[in-house]
Assembly symmetry: C2
Homo-oligomer: 150 residues x 2
Amino acid sequence: MFKKILYPTDFSDAAAKALNYIKQLKEAGSQEVVLLHVINQRIIDGLMRHAMLDEDIMRWRDKAAEIAEESLAEMSKELENVGFTVKMIIKTGYPGNVILDVEKRENPSIIVIGSHGRSNLGDMLLGSVSDRVVRKSKRPVLVIKRDTES
Amino acid sequence: MFKKILYPTDFSDAAAKALNYIKQLKEAGSQEVVLLHVINQRIIDGLMRHAMLDEDIMRWRDKAAEIAEESLAEMSKELENVGFTVKMIIKTGYPGNVILDVEKRENPSIIVIGSHGRSNLGDMLLGSVSDRVVRKSKRPVLVIKRDTES
């Protein structure tokens, strides 16, 4: 029921909170975690609109991928230490779409995702990723709010 | 982290699926379940618009409460048998509002809720209850889809 977890992370506080819940789910039979980071195409679109050179955009993207790889590798170690099998995926695209695509391919038992809440416009855009996943996914979704007291 | 579960149920298939996840969460430390059924004020509003007599509406409401009580008592027994402490709440109101009110009062660690998906208009209205709870709740919310294969 909780065997294989898909965990999309944008490295935010909300996503970090979600990771704690994943560790706790181990006791309920979770064995495998697919760590997913999406390099946000919306940011790339923004850079292009601001007429940044293709070369510079590529450099930004490579840097983002490098940082993501390091961060996921760290999480991966942390989860392996408590007994999980871990797979890392880094993709560029629109986060909601990529998460739903990866869900289809990986067929997880559950998705665990952080939600930023609604305190400002940036957060609203980010928050809508988890909304979209809850609405469109066929799998159970556990949404962890940034403001959760725990 | 999963100690006290708020489980709103409308006795649908989706809600029944959610109950299985609650049982599994026992292994991750869940101890207490608050069973909540909301007698839907929207249905009462509809009956009033169709000029049903107050007396008949009261009778419908009492019957709905009676059935809910029996159903929750059955679930309660089922959950107590596997070691949960259970509390039953039946209220009349708009489901989303009542769930969020009860959440504030009961302060659960997590809400586990079924979602009907979107196959027809009736389902859309019902589905919006879980959407609203995900959006407005401060607690983690586990959404179980009716169509989840498990």
